[in-house]
């Protein structure tokens, strides 16, 4: 009788280890983006990664959305004189966020003539354009948010990993809270302020020319 062939109960990944085909992701809970190829110059501002591209509304024209880093790079591609090079940018962590308008903004959003979801998304883009996550925790506002969940902008936001880690160490050392809970106190007021600003811009554009003038 041929000898018994023992059954292997578990593998030995250390012995079979080899080069990995891709850069290993941060073993932490969120993605850490360590470096990427960016055209010069590049800023380290937060980047909004849209879940979908919103179609442009018909009338009236919406406020011009502020370009993100990605769209800015496409609009002004690097030339031979300023070649693209790989550079190290600050480590970032991608956070899943959900932003909505305030209850007090509901009526104006409905009446403005633009899809309220587009207004909120545009406001989010403006709010993060020159914003950096601070290491100090700010409690979430008590203001009443709208209950219309269809307007909610859900996306991911790359924030400075160092500041995020500082927030985690100070306010969530056991890592039980969502990352959005830790940063919404800093970001939401900016978004709401931008919604107000956009609504004002829309109202100004919608106003008839020379309104109030005496002919």
């Amino acid at each position: 009788m041929r000898k018994k062939i023992p059954t292997i109960t578990r593998p030995d990944p250390a012995y079979a280890a080899s080069l990995r085909p891709e850069v290993e992701e941060d073993p932490g809970r969120e993605e850490v983006q360590r470096a990427e190829a960016t055209p010069e110059p590049a800023s380290a501002q937060p980047v909004v990664v849209d879940d979908h591209i919103a179609p442009p509304p018909s009338t009236p024209p919406p406020p011009t959305p502020q370009p993100t880093q990605e769209t800015a790079g496409r609009a002004a591609p690097p030339t031979l004189a300023s070649p693209t090079r790989t550079r190290r940018i600050p480590a970032t962590r991608k956070i899943d966020i959900r932003v909505n308008a305030l209850e007090r903004q509901e009526e104006a959003l409905i009446d403005c003539g633009v899809d309220p979801a587009h207004v909120i998304r545009a406001a989010l883009r403006r709010a993060v354009k020159n914003w950096q996550l601070g290491p100090d925790f700010i409690a979430s506002s008590e203001e009443q948010r709208t209950r219309i969940t269809e307007w909610r902008a859900r996306t991911s936001l790359a924030v400075h990993a160092g500041a995020m880690n500082a927030l985690l160490r100070a306010h969530d050392p056991l890592d039980v809270l969502s990352k959005w809970t830790l940063i919404r106190g800093q970001l939401e007021p900016r978004v709401w302020a931008e919604i107000d600003a956009i609504l004002t811009e829309i109202a100004q554009r919608a106003a008839p020319p020379h309104a109030g003038e005496v002919s």
Partner: protein
């Protein structure tokens, strides 16, 4: 009738260039010279051992006792062993493997009766050899029946005939770290000839029959290599 005396020997090491294929050729030569039927299974994707067998056959320096097969999966090796066992078509199966640590290493190891790992005499080679030995030790804890695992043997390879003090120290270190086979494999030019032409005993017979009488004394080197390989094989089987 199944062949209950079938012996499966796998040459395995984590490092390429350690001498697995050369050791396999030498052990195959020793088994065939002793009149045993041998099947060589080449699992290395380079196919070096299988190509060597074809070259030997083409040069008339093979043997009717030696057959070869190329197999591309662990399951294929298992099936081929079972066929040979059931049909009693060989006394020895030699499995040559690629010089890497891989997931298939476990699968080949459990099929064999003996695992041989050639290790050259250098600090780095000893370190890599230790990795293979450590893998095999850990395998005992990763199978349901450790007693059914093969025996592991380390063959010191490419040992210079004029051993230096440094070599002696390395040999001592190897003995302390591995289950070293008593007979070492010396550095020999005849292994190049074996690679080029075929089985050692066939090469020896060819030299013996050489019409040029000046070539006949060279048979001694081939016979020495064959004796050495036979000693190694006997050491492995006796363990």
């Amino acid at each position: 009738m199944p062949n209950d005396n079938l012996v499966v020997i796998a040459a395995m090491a984590r490092k390429g260039g350690s001498g697995k294929t050369t050791l396999s050729r030498a052990l195959i030569s020793a088994a065939v010279a002793a009149g045993r039927r041998v099947l060589l299974i080449d699992t290395d994707s380079t196919g070096v051992l299988g190509t060597w067998h074809k070259r030997a056959e083409a040069a008339g320096l093979g043997s009717p006792l030696l057959r070869s097969a190329t197999v591309e999966s662990v399951g294929g090796v298992d099936r081929r062993i079972e066929q040979v066992y059931a049909a009693d078509s060989a006394d020895f199966i030699f499995i040559d493997t690629a010089g890497v640590g891989a997931e298939w290493s476990d699968g080949i190891a459990v099929l064999a009766d003996h695992i041989v790992t050639p290790v050259m005499l250098s600090t780095s080679d000893l370190d890599v050899g230790a990795q293979t030995a450590e893998w095999f030790d850990k395998l005992r804890a990763r199978v349901d029946d450790p007693a059914s695992l093969p025996r592991h043997h380390v063959v010191l390879n490419m040992v210079d005939p004029k051993t230096t003090r440094a070599d002696a120290a390395l040999i001592e270190a190897a003995i302390a770290r591995f289950p070293v086979v008593e007979t070492v494999m010396m550095r020999r030019n005849v292994y190049k000839e074996m690679d080029e032409k075929g089985l050692l005993h066939a090469v020896a017979l060819q030299k013996q029959a050489d019409p040029n009488p000046l070539m006949r004394p060279h048979v001694r080197h081939v016979v020495e290599a064959l004796e050495e390989a036979t000693d190694i094989l006997n050491n492995i089987l006796a363990a």
